[in-house]
């Protein structure tokens, strides 16, 4: 990693901070300072009090804490960082993980009304005259010491069942892609709230001063003609009401990894620095005068961009990876933009202290042609997911890196559209779906939760996506009830206003 000592000439001195409390205090300090001279400091001390948190606020306000510890975990974290492999479009739990031999002989039979219940309305059960059960055409086997059942479509994932925890009883409220992804990733189906990566960035602060805290990698879909591909929208990784520095930074696979980061040809780094120094001096002056947090954020972002000009090329240059490592991630790993390449990139982020890396896979929306496309989709993510967990593990990173795999909801046991033995589709399904987690204090080699014989209803240890998010935060040392941000008159939190609970059954 390139080393560039922060030469004091080049650093505009700004107090550590960037948090809302800091600015509140800062504004109060200016107020007291102007109104009552020396009384300001005493008043500030009185405001901050002597509590533990007071000590933090005070230390922060005095600039005593380093940048990056503006915020701290509420308690000692199991994981210092997370990698979220997001299967956009929603993978079919019943064909990958949720083995249902009980319905093997029910091909093309009607879904029993007792199973269907009344809760879920999706396109097919509104429009279709009947809901015909499709048992999974794929073979399942038990794997590992734990004996977890996995479909033949995921032979690599099957090899690591002793390292991961499956949760089969997840539920969501929303059955449209965009809103459901927004719900699982921001805690609310309506766009505009802060994403989970932004919350983690905000809650933990920066570990590496020279890289973003939250990085997003969007992979190409393996399906032909864009079948099953749903759009990914920037609000999935947005910072919402949180300071903009917490927003996910998308690293692109073609051209410049970060748009507009590179200097124009002919502009030297010194010239860029000199220009920045001038701008920053003016910004610092303005900030001293009026204390607007937006100015502070802008100063920070300019400096971060300048540092990233040096660090991003090293981050994205895989020439120091061995042939053995490329082989581990599979044949696609050398091709930028593939899921395999992005998984390898995610490991590099973990090594370099990026707090939250989100890799989007795409194409999982199998309304039609599932037997044709699902094997392609599974193959695309299978070996790379295994490689990521295995690579993290052998390098000693899995113990403090949380890995999460899954999509926005599940898929129906019944066919959408015409049903043939070798051609069918599955509709959106919110009453049960499967995800897996690994590392970062997750109990390995377990299956949590259970579904009914049709993989239709969660029947044991039911968990909402809010509970999943509470659990992810918990492993990162953050209490979802205490990680809040005041906005629109509400203490906003990732898990929203409905009750949420940490899924303790997943924890080691």
């Amino acid at each position: 990693m390139p080393d560039f000592p922060l030469d004091s000439r080049h650093v505009v001195t700004i107090p550590a901070g960037g948090s809302r409390e800091y600015f509140d205090l800062q504004t109060r300090r200016q107020f007291f300072g102007r109104m009552a001279g020396g009384l300001g400091g005493a008043a500030l001390t009185a405001l901050a009090g002597n509590s533990l948190l007071g000590a933090f606020s005070r230390a922060r306000a005095e600039g005593l804490l380093p940048p990056g510890s503006e915020r701290l975990p509420h308690f000692a974290p199991k994981a210092k960082r997370a990698i979220y492999l997001f299967m956009g479009g929603a993978p079919s739990q019943i064909d990958l993980f949720d083995y249902k031999p009980q319905i093997a002989d029910r091909f093309d039979q009607d879904l029993p009304p007792s199973i269907l219940g009344t809760g879920q309305r999706n396109a097919s059960n509104i429009r279709q005259p009947r809901l015909a059960v499709v048992p999974s055409p794929y073979r399942f086997q038990q794997h590992g010491k734990c004996g977890t059942w996995v479909s033949e479509l995921l032979p690599w994932t099957a090899k690591m069942v002793d390292d991961i925890a499956l949760i089969k009883s997840l539920q969501t409220d929303i059955l449209n892609h965009n809103s459901a992804v927004t719900l699982i990733l921001t805690g609310n189906a309506v766009a505009g709230k802060a994403s989970i990566g932004a919350w983690v960035s905000y809650g933990l602060g920066r570990a590496n001063e020279n890289l973003p805290t939250f990085v997003v990698l969007v992979s190409k879909a393996p399906t032909p003609n864009g079948e099953g591909v749903q759009a990914v929208f920037p609000n999935f990784w947005g910072s919402g009401f949180l300071p903009a520095t917490n927003s996910g930074v998308v690293l692109r696979s073609e051209g410049d990894p970060v748009l507009y980061l590179k200097d124009p040809r002919g502009l030297s780094r010194d010239a860029r620095r000199a220009m920045l120094d001038g701008v920053q001096a003016m910004n610092a002056e303005a900030y001293e005068e009026i204390g607007d947090p937006a100015i502070h954020a802008r100063i920070e972002e300019y400096e971060m961009a300048f540092r990233m000009q040096a660090t991003v090329p090293e981050l994205t240059d895989l020439s120091d990876e061995t042939a053995e490592t490329f082989a581990l991630y599979g044949p696609d790993a050398r091709t930028p933009g593939t899921f395999a390449h992005n998984c390898l990139m995610a490991r590099r982020m973990a090594e370099r202290g990026v707090r939250f890396t989100q890799v989007f896979a795409r194409g999982w929306d199998s309304h039609r042609s599932l037997p044709k496309n699902l094997p392609l989709l599974a193959k695309d993510i299978d070996q790379p997911s295994y490689a990521l967990v295995t690579d993290l593990k052998r390098r000693g990173l899995l113990e403090d890196t949380l890995v999460v795999w899954g999509g926005e909801f599940g898929r129906t046991v019944y066919s959408e559209g015409a049903l043939k033995r070798d051609d069918f589709g599955r509709d959106h399904h919110g009453k049960c779906f499967t995800m897996w987690l690994a590392g970062g204090g997750i109990k390995p080699g377990i299956v949590h939760g259970e579904t009914d014989d049709f993989s239709f209803n969660s029947i044991r240890d039911i968990a909402h996506v809010r509970d999943l998010n509470a659990t992810i935060l918990q492993q990162l040392g953050l209490d979802h009830n205490r990680l809040t941000f005041k906005f629109e008159g509400l203490d906003q939190k990732l898990t929203g206003t409905a009750p949420a609970k940490v899924i303790t059954g997943l924890l080691a």
Partner: protein, 301 residues
């Protein structure tokens, strides 16, 4: 700090009211020979004996006139005399019997019952070596997990907060509180500029007032080498140490032996070889060891 002071500190700070009640109950019961319920013996040794030995050497059956269901009985020994020689695990019949090969005629437990795991015989050996006391509290690294979790990871960092920024400036590293809990310690973080951190920097941190607060040293890809390991041994509360892809070799690993609380050690991508094994065995609390990409890993089956 004198040992007695240390122990007193430990007892006052470690045990929650519930444990204190247990302690009081034990005292009331008048079983003075059993020692406190929070002793090393009560927490770690007796549970092993209860599980593996007492069914034949206890109130139900008393084979070879030996009972192992209390400290007094263990101390008394059996038909063959004493079974524990305080300070001398190698001369203690108890330990000899439970560490024999499975097919040996004298191995205990007998009759094909499950043998003790190496971690369990290790506990017995270290307890005997330390004097086989009924009262001594468990030294660092020897507490059962539930008790270990109650012990502060490090001294309170709050008094140091005002100096953290200056210390960071001085050392060119980051010193980041693990959490808002003031006794969770500090992380020594170098990931922003690992090449700035070398043996000299580490020696200065080790000699500073902040050393006991550091529980996690993130030194991967820094320029530290074997010369830094004696300095690392001066971080008494270090629980995690990441030396991945540094120039560290097997030679100096023995210097880490004083790190009684070290749980996780990452040596991936270093030049350590098979001679590291014995040196690493000296770390009593080590749970996670990573050696990927080293001559040691390449040499292992």
């Amino acid at each position: 700090m004198p040992a007695s002071h240390q122990a007193g500190f430990a007892r006052r700070r470690l045990f929650p009211p519930a444990a204190a009640c247990l302690l009081a109950a034990g005292a009331l019961a008048g079983d003075a020979a059993a020692g406190p319920a929070t002793s090393w013996y009560a927490l770690r040794v007796q549970p092993i004996l209860d599980r593996h030995c007492v069914s034949c050497h206890g109130p139900e059956k008393v084979r070879a006139e030996l009972r192992l269901d209390s400290y007094a009985a263990l101390h008394r020994g059996g038909a063959g005399g004493a079974v524990v020689q305080p300070g001398q695990p190698e001369r203690s019949e108890l330990l000899r019997r439970v560490t024999l090969p499975a097919d040996h005629d004298d191995v205990m437990p007998s009759d094909g019952k499950p043998l003790l795991a190496p971690e369990q015989t290790g506990v017995l050996a270290r307890w005997i070596k330390a004097g086989a006391s009924p009262e001594a509290p468990p030294p660092p690294g020897e507490e059962p997990p539930a008790v270990a979790a109650l012990r502060p990871a490090a001294p309170d960092y709050r008094p140091f907060l005002p100096r953290l920024a200056a210390l960071q400036e001085e050392f060119g590293v980051r010193l980041v509180p693990v959490s808002q809990q003031p006794t969770d310690g500090l992380i020594l973080r170098t990931v922003s500029a690992p090449a700035r951190v070398d043996d000299a920097v580490l020696a200065r941190i080790a000699a500073s007032e902040i050393a006991p607060l550091i529980v996690d040293a993130e030194l991967a890809r820094t320029r530290v080498s074997d010369a830094a390991l004696p300095a690392l041994a001066r971080f008494p509360n270090l629980a995690r140490l990441d030396l991945a892809r540094t120039a560290v070799t097997s030679t100096a690993l023995g210097a880490l032996a004083p790190l009684a609380r070290l749980r996780s050690l990452n040596l991936a991508g270093t030049r350590i070889d098979a001679t590291a094994r014995d040196r690493l065995r000296q770390l009593p609390a080590l749970e996670q060891l990573h050696v990927f990409g080293t001559p040691l890993a390449d040499a292992s089956p």
